[in-house]
Structures are given as structure tokens and as C-alpha cells.
Subunit: 338 residues, 2 copies
């Protein structure tokens, strides 16, 4: 099975290389009959254009990079799923770059990676979405970028976000609606954009309901299972413990569930625990967690769609797209005891 090149097709269809190229790239100014003839030749010969050659001639690579934190989790796999779906549909390939976001040399290392791959565009996930140095680098290189889950909205850089503050607000409204007013909140890392937003929804909901915010009910975690355990120990040993604990991610919530059970506290009978993210573990623990499902895959699809439009130099409808979260009520929440 020898390779079929554009010359073979040209000969077969009785036209010039350039016309083949025009059909390939959907350029205008090809008559309908010619186009048809060429497309038939494609099929008949089983022709596949060589991406290397196209890339060289057009200075494109048909490669899109995905930058994400290396201690990856279900968030990442959903992002990948969405990004790939679009890439595939549009004839691009996805190259993944898990990077340690605390790495001092990130920028320079990533820069050398950029060089060696000629990416057509890059998708940034948190916390990279908010790293200004990185954004500057990409701007300088004129590499198209789309940011996912970014905190700040930067001029001219397109982004896709979810409404975390609102979802957090909604979760608290739900808790209040089933009778809770002693609601604790566990924050995540402060350097993660979502932390602030999720907390703001909590604040808003409580204020609105006229519930005073008790300082001891606000605990600082770091998104890890262990930090959830620590916070739970502190919260559950208060003289007046909360009747509901809202952790800003599911892993911390799982830690709370564990500590509560160890203390013989029944969930949700004695204590309601809720999380955020709808991580796989939220289904696997018992009781399963009431949580917020982020439309991660959908966000990635949208981000990739936007990126490819930019690469193709087509206009974007909007510079920032928001995709809505969804409250999922499972077994870990119940009305407050009266």
C-alpha cells in the first residue's frame, strides 16, 4: 500500500495540484463539476493529505494544546473529553500538557514546549487560566488562547466559565429551604479562582435570609480529603455545631462524612453534608453526596469551538460564555431537625 500524494490525485482527476488543494481547503472558485470530480478521485484513490506537508506549507499544525494541573482528577478527564470531541469533529488533534502549577520554571519550560510543537492554539484550565505571565507569553507569541474557568475577565481573551457563585448561592438556598440555618462553609485553596466565588454565593444567600455569618463556621480547607477531615473535627467539636456543612468540593465533603461517621454522627439524620463538583467519589461514598454538577465537558467543548474559530480567523459571537451548573440532591442532605 503505497502512499497517495496530491500529485496522484491531480493526475487522476486531470487537474492541477493547486485545484486539489483548493478542494481540500474548501476554498472558493472551484466549479461544481471540478470539485465533484476531485472528491471522487479522493475516494477512489483513498487519498489522505499529509498533515506535515500541509503544516509546513501553511504554517499550521492542526494541534491544539491543553494545559492543566498535573495532579489531575475527574475535572481534567471531563475537560479532555469535551476538548477532544470538538477537535475530532474539526480535524484537529489534542496534545496534553499536565504541568505543576507551582513550578517556578513553568513559563520557560512551557515556552520550550511551545517551540517544539507549533501548536495552533491552547486551552487553559484553572489555575493556569489566571496566570498573567503565561497569558503574556502566549500573547507575545501570538498563539490563540481560550481560558476555561477563569476568575478575572481579561480584555480580548475569550473564556468559558460556569456560574459558581450562583450555584453556591443555590445550594445554600436549598439548605435554608429545608430548615438549616446553622450552615458551615469550607473554603478551598485561596489561589484557586473558584474559591472566592463559591464563598461569595454562601455569603449572599445567608445575608439575604437574614442568617448571621458565624466566623467559626467558616473553615479554611485546601480541596483535599484530609483538609476536609481537619475542618470537620474542628466544626463538630464546637459547643453549637452546625447542622449542615457545605464543602466547596467533594473530596473535602468526603472527609467530613468520614469524621462524622467515626464520631457516630448519622448523615443526613444528624448532619447534612454537601459538596461541589460531582466528582466520581461523590457517588461512591455512602451516603452519596448532594453536590453541584459542573458542566465541565460542555465548557471544554465550547472553549475548543471558540479556539478553532479563532484559529480559522472567524469572528466569535461572544468573548465570554457562561455555562450553568446544576444542583444534584442525593442522600447526604435532609431537613434540619426541629
Amino acid at each position: 500500500m503505497k502512499k497517495i500524494t496530491i500529485n496522484d490525485v491531480a493526475r487522476h482527476a486531470g487537474v492541477s495540484k493547486k485545484t486539489i488543494s483548493r478542494v481540500l481547503n474548501e476554498e472558493p472558485n472551484v466549479s461544481i463539476e471540478t470539485r465533484k470530480k476531485v472528491e471522487e478521485s479522493f475516494i477512489e484513490l483513498g487519498y489522505r493529505p499529509n498533515p506535515q506537508a500541509r503544516g509546513l506549507a501553511s504554517s499550521q499544525s492542526y494541534l491544539i494544546g491543553l494545559l492543566y494541573p498535573s495532579q489531575s482528577n475527574s475535572y481534567v478527564s471531563n475537560i479532555q473529553k469535551g476538548a477532544l470531541e470538538r477537535c475530532r469533529a474539526e480535524g484537529f488533534h489534542l496534545v496534553i500538557y499536565p504541568e505543576d502549577h507551582e513550578n517556578e520554571n513553568l513559563i520557560s519550560q512551557f515556552e520550550s514546549n511551545l517551540y517544539s510543537s507549533n501548536l495552533d492554539g491552547i486551552i487553559l484550565t484553572p489555575p493556569f487560566s489566571d496566570m498573567t505571565k503565561l497569558l503574556d507569553l502566549l500573547k507575545e507569541r501570538e498563539i490563540p488562547v481560550v481560558r476555561v474557568g477563569a476568575l478575572s475577565s481579561l480584555d480580548k481573551i475569550p473564556s468559558v466559565i460556569s456560574n459558581d457563585a450562583e450555584a453556591s448561592y443555590e445550594m445554600c438556598r436549598y439548605l435554608i429551604s429545608i430548615g438549616h440555618h446553622k450552615i458551615a462553609f469550607i473554603k478551598g485553596n485561596l489561589d484557586h479562582g473558584a474559591t472566592e466565588q463559591r464563598f461569595s454565593g454562601y455569603n449572599k444567600a445567608l445575608k439575604e435570609a437574614g442568617i448571621p455569618i458565624i466566623e467559626q463556621f467558616i473553615q479554611q480547607g485546601n480541596f483535599s480529603f484530609e483538609s476536609g477531615e481537619d475542618c470537620a473535627r474542628r466544626l463538630l467539636s464546637l459547643k453549637t455545631p452546625p447542622s449542615a456543612i457545605f464543602a466547596s468540593n467533594d473530596y473535602m465533603a468526603a472527609g467530613i462524612v468520614k469524621v462524622a461517621k467515626q464520631k457516630g454522627i448519622s448523615i443526613p439524620h444528624d448532619l447534612t453534608v454537601t459538596g461541589f463538583d460531582n466528582a466520581p467519589a461523590s457517588r461512591y461514598i455512602w451516603p452519596s453526596l448532594t453536590t453541584i454538577k459542573q458542566p465541565i465537558t460542555e465548557m471544554a467543548i465550547e472553549a475548543t469551538r471558540m479556539l478553532i474559530r479563532i484559529i480559522r480567523k472567524k469572528p466569535l459571537d461572544r468573548l465570554s460564555v457562561t455555562i450553568r451548573n446544576e444542583l444534584i440532591v442525593r442522600e447526604s442532605s435532609a431537613p434540619a431537625k426541629t
Copy 2:
């Protein structure tokens, strides 16, 4: 910042393009002084070779594909981690292909993907590692392949495996050693290679210990949380229920834990439950699971190392490499009640 090409470097160093190319590719027959001079020019000019051009001229792409099942989990992210580590170190890029393994058109779809990307090589993960049609396709195309976690050992196709049967054996030995002899086993999907191996370890250990194998103690699951629940319900309603249940993955084990707790059965006091895989969820549930840690990342590193050797046409030390699993004892197992 304009692009520096090989011609610029050639002029700067006062040698021909070809000599630059030689230095770039570490070819022999370049004098030490020349090499030094050229390397200095690289740095001074900030030269980066264009991968597209290299690819076109040498019919390489510096791209490695990773094929894995699309309902991805922690297994996949560990595989990615390992594969990437090696790719990066060797100047390759990783392109990911999550595919539905039950898709009828997998082969033809994947084939068209192959065409459009010119991969230098491919890493196959289960259950793709054992799909003969796929292997045939890749063989026909003469694309280097390494299989991870393959069941059958095929001639000439290199593979990296873990000793699942042994690990399963070891787990059972551990259970027996702490006094269990009513040990149930939950199988996974039959089409997944590991299923059989994990079961064989169970068989061997019990036989060796002179424990009769009770048919009802062998349950058929499908690696899902829900199937674990189902199997648990059946097992725990037997007249003489098992004192230990060994599920062949952690998700099923989590399902068992849930059902047991719902029935008021205390783990590990009344029932020991163990899993396989060391999935993240195995740490997040309570009690945390005794399980088998697979050296997944290490397997991927080794697989990628082998693949790159093949691509570079360097000889392989061994055609099949085995990396050992490890038993991790956590909270879900305890001595049998006497």
C-alpha cells in the same frame, strides 16, 4: 521576533545546512569544533527546528498516540502521566485517543484518525491491547505499537504487564492469614483481560489453603459501583454469608461497603471488604479500602520508553516487561471473628 531557520544558523556558523542538520540529529561525522560552533549558534540565535519540516523531510511526526477507553477513570490519568513523562523527556508529544471500545466502527474510525495524524507510534491500553483487529491494522500500517496490560502475549508485539494473578493471590493469602476462610470473590467484565487473571489468583490461593470454593461465593460483576451493590445484596443474604469479600476493583468494593452499611453490618468488624486498583475513591470512602496498588504510571513510562526505542529502531532488551503490584492494607479489613 522573526523565525530563525536552518539557513540563518548555517550562515551564522559558516557551515552548510546539512551540517546543521547533522548536529541537530546527533549524526556522526561532525568534528568537535564544528559541532561546538553550531551549538553556540543555536543558542545565540535562539534557533528551534520546525517540527513540521523535519517531519515532512524525514517522515516522522514526533507524535505518539495513546488509545484508551473513553469512560475514563483514574487508571487512564495515571497512564497519561507516565506516558507523558517519557514523551517529554525524549522530545515527543502525546496525542490522546479515548475511544468507545464497544463501538462497531472503531477500527475504521481509528484508521482515518491514523491517517490524519501520522503517528510515529501507539500505546494501547486495555481492552484495546487485546483487540486483534486493531493489532492487525497497525501491523499492516507498520506503526510501532506497545501494549499495556495485555492478556495474551502475542509474538513480536512488545508489552508491559502487571502481575495481577499474583497480586490477587497475595490478597487472598493475606485474607486467609488473618483467619478468613469464607471468602467471596466478585469478578469484573469477562471481556476485560484482568478479570480472568484476578480470578485465577483467588482460585489458586484457596485451593492451596485447602479451602473449598463455594459457587455462590463467586459473583459476576462488571466493574461498576452498582454491580458491586447487587453482588453484595446477593452475598449478604446467603444463609452462611462470607466473612470477607474480595472485589476485583475498588468501585465494586465501594458498592459492597455501601450495602453492608445500609444493612447495619460493620466493616471491618463483621465483614472484611477489599478491592483492587487503588482508585482515588478507595481512600475517600469510610472505612478506606484495603486494595492492590497497580504501578500504572510506571507501566506507562516503561511502555513509552520501549515504544520510542522501537521508533528509533534501537533494540529492545525484552519483549515483555512485568511490573509488580503492591498490597495496601487500610481500614476495611480485619481478622475474622472466631
